[in-house]
Symmetry: C2
Subunit: 174 residues, 2 copies
């Protein structure tokens, strides 16, 4: 196991700024590109990250601390953000993600003592018994999965434009 709470937080606290640097000011042609029917564009991925900050990571962490294996996590609706009907701008959404993340990391630092809590267990509705450190590792990798997704979705806009170079550009063939 590599898990280390301080190192996990290093990644978690960088994600909003990295996405902001990558995306702020891009034309809609980039921001609204997707990979076909039923796939998400960059803005929808940010909405999903916001939803996970609200209803997934901290709520589950608190259930582990308070209930242990007595009460399963409520299922996380991975498509809830698609019901989102507010008219906030993309910049407002990025700011919301950044603010929620900062609040959640502050809570995480208050609630979790690594030497006491990392091996605590909870009950996942599909997987059964899971550990606090597995939940926290997943939070990190979930950030990176969706960052890579955004980068891939943007790249695919130029799939035809690169001409014969497509062969060398693995990201276009995923």
């Amino acid at each position: 196991m590599n898990f280390n709470l301080d190192e996990a937080i290093e990644v978690l606290e960088r994600t909003p700024q990295a996405l902001e640097s990558l995306l702020t000011g891009l034309s809609n042609g980039w921001l609204q590109n997707n990979e076909g029917d039923g796939t998400w564009h960059a803005i929808e991925v940010i909405e999903h990250l916001i939803e996970a900050e609200k209803t997934n990571w901290l709520p589950r962490l608190e259930i582990i601390l308070q209930e242990g294996e007595r009460k399963p996590f409520p299922p996380f609706d991975r498509f809830a953000h698609l019901q989102e009907t507010s008219v906030r701008s993309f910049e407002q959404k990025l700011l919301e993600f950044k603010t929620l993340r900062a609040q959640n990391l502050a809570k995480l630092r208050t609630l979790v003592e690594p030497e006491k809590h990392l091996e605590l267990t909870g009950l996942h509705p599909a997987f059964g018994v899971v550990k606090m450190r597995e939940l926290l590792s997943t939070w990190v990798v979930h950030d990176l999965t969706h960052t890579a997704q955004i980068v891939r979705v943007i790249a695919k806009r130029y799939t035809a434009d690169v001409g014969p170079w497509r062969e060398y550009l693995g990201i276009l063939n995923k």
Copy 2:
């Protein structure tokens, strides 16, 4: 074709800042993780991006403008950066990438007039005839390919740590 020079530059000018936001200050455990023998860690990817700024994009662009199809591009050595022996810090390397990119985009803006030059052709050593707009599209997607690679390589450090969640996290199975 989607290609538009201003939109391509939007992505190209954001890459150094996005990588800086993602990587600066991360522990070596993240920065020096790789995907096994013969694969690159994040720092090696940055070195490759530096090499491409020096010897790939602008030199090829200039050959198209000056020589057209008369003279093939010199081959780009995708492993040249692995011979790199200097002892610059990671922050210095990121700064070098940022500086070279800014210089190259300034040159690009001076040299290429979209209404005149995008359909110009050159001779790729493996692909044969290629267009200026294909070279420029490839520059964009090459940035995104290597950004996604860095994100994936970092994520893989926690492949075992996420426990049963691995199944939901596609990035770990690539």
